[in-house]
């Protein structure tokens, strides 16, 4: 979801976002009813097969799991210590399956498709006062601004280092907050200038 979309011409990419999200929800629920390592292993292989069908290399699948490796290892050790090896393997396999399936959905679905689907689904709640358009735009902006704010944070951190401040949460957070608020103000103007109507 975080701007990870990789453009390819594949059947997985061509599937409607709603189907992919429904499939993800069903698989995520279903995985909790499978407590045997063998079928979970088969599901993991099937998931890797879907990556291949989406023309995404195995390296891309591995990239999704790499940042989680320390957490996965702690989880595995905890399960192995407090339950048993088989439970540890099952829990690990479930988490890996869910991460890979979620990544597959985000890697093969444009943010705009995802947001349009969300808008349609949340539209049902309009009589209850839920503004689906606003929520969808909020999601789009979140996806868009994460890398922008990350760059901003790096820039502030470098500026602090240049002035001899190595580690200070306050020295980082105060300018980040000020710049973010200023950015939010201009972003509001930019949305208006481009015809956005919050109603």
């Amino acid at each position: 979801m975080l701007g990870l979309y990789l453009h390819r011409s594949s059947h997985v990419h061509a599937l409607p976002a709603g189907w992919k999200l429904a499939g993800l929800a069903a698989a995520a629920t279903g995985a909790f009813f499978v407590a045997d390592p063998a079928p979970l292993g088969a599901l993991l292989l099937g998931c890797l097969g879907l990556f291949a069908l989406a023309r995404l290399p195995a390296r891309t699948a591995a990239d999704q799991l790499r940042p989680l490796l320390p957490i996965l290892l702690v989880l595995f050790a905890a399960q192995a210590a407090f339950a048993d090896w088989e439970t540890a393997v099952v829990v690990m396999a479930r988490v890996c399956l869910l991460v890979l399936l979620s990544a597959l959905v985000t890697l093969t679905t444009r943010a705009s498709e995802m947001i349009e689907t969300l808008e349609r689904v949340l539209g049902v709640l309009r009589p209850l006062g839920v503004n689906a358009g606003k929520l969808s735009l909020m999601l789009a902006l979140t996806i868009r601004l994460i890398p922008v704010l990350f760059d901003l944070m790096q820039e502030i951190r470098m500026a602090q280092r240049a002035r001899g401040v190595e580690r200070s949460a306050l020295a980082l957070l105060v300018p980040l907050l000020v710049k973010t608020l200023r950015m939010a103000d201009t972003l509001g103007d930019a949305l208006e200038a481009r015809g956005y109507d919050p109603r």
Binding site: V148, D151, Y196
Partner: protein, 224 residues
């Protein structure tokens, strides 16, 4: 044509524009002034992003005080920092954003997005995440996202300030070739020199309004 009639604007107690009367009818108008001279406020008044504390701004006869939304549809606005203007994560999605707000049919949106990407040399980057573009490409995307809405006038608020020389020249070329009327607020004197008319602001007042040569000389003299 954009007209400003006895426009005054205040932020709290601070008056930033002090009685501006202008009729902007030329194809290329530049506005220069020192920091705090009121030029960014003036730019935002031109498309109804803010309404004046006193006086009126008329965009092709539409009073921004009465119908700011209609005025904004006629005046596009390009901000200094494209990162605060790009809303959607990928290039083509961002260009389509304003068109979706106009509730145009899907095939019309697709046609206009294709044409805008082609016009600004972004067709090869259409599925790229916006944050991976260079500074110049981001500014081109911001301009494409505004011009795809087919405004009659475009206001550029310091469009080259954050760019290197190559990208400054690229943006200057884009502005030069625009068929729309353009009002450029800038410190970039090379860009300003290309306008037909240059307005110099100082402490919220118009202190020079002339052809580029004499107006830039007046500005430089004021800057000391």
């Amino acid at each position: 044509m954009i007209e400003l009639r006895n426009v005054r604007h205040r932020y709290g107690e601070r008056e930033v524009l002090r009685g501006i009367d202008l009729t902007l009818a030329e194809r290329r108008v530049a506005i220069v002034g020192s920091n705090g001279s009121g030029k960014s406020t003036l730019a935002r008044l031109l498309n109804g992003l803010i309404v004046p504390s006193e006086g009126h701004v008329l965009v092709d006869g539409i009073d921004t005080r009465k119908d700011a939304r209609a005025a904004r549809r006629r005046v596009g606005f390009v901000f200094q920092d494209p990162d605060v203007q790009i809303v959607y994560p990928t290039v083509e999605e961002d260009v389509a954003f304003g068109l979706k707000n106009l509730r145009l049919p899907r095939d019309e949106i697709a046609r206009r997005v294709d044409a805008a990407l082609e016009r600004f040399g972004l067709s090869g980057h259409r599925t790229w995440p916006a944050h991976l573009l260079s500074g110049g490409q981001k500014q081109l995307l911001a301009i494409a996202s505004v011009l795809v809405l087919e405004p009659a006038h475009v206001v550029f608020d310091e469009p080259t300030t954050l760019l290197d020389l190559r990208n400054r020249r690229a943006i200057a070329r884009v502005i030069r070739e625009l068929p729309e009327t353009a009002i450029v607020v800038s410190h970039d004197l090379d860009l300003v020199a290309e306008a037909e008319r240059v307005i110099v602001l100082d402490e919220g007042r118009v202190v020079a309004d002339d052809a580029p040569g004499p107006a830039i000389s007046a500005y430089v003299a004021r800057m000391g």
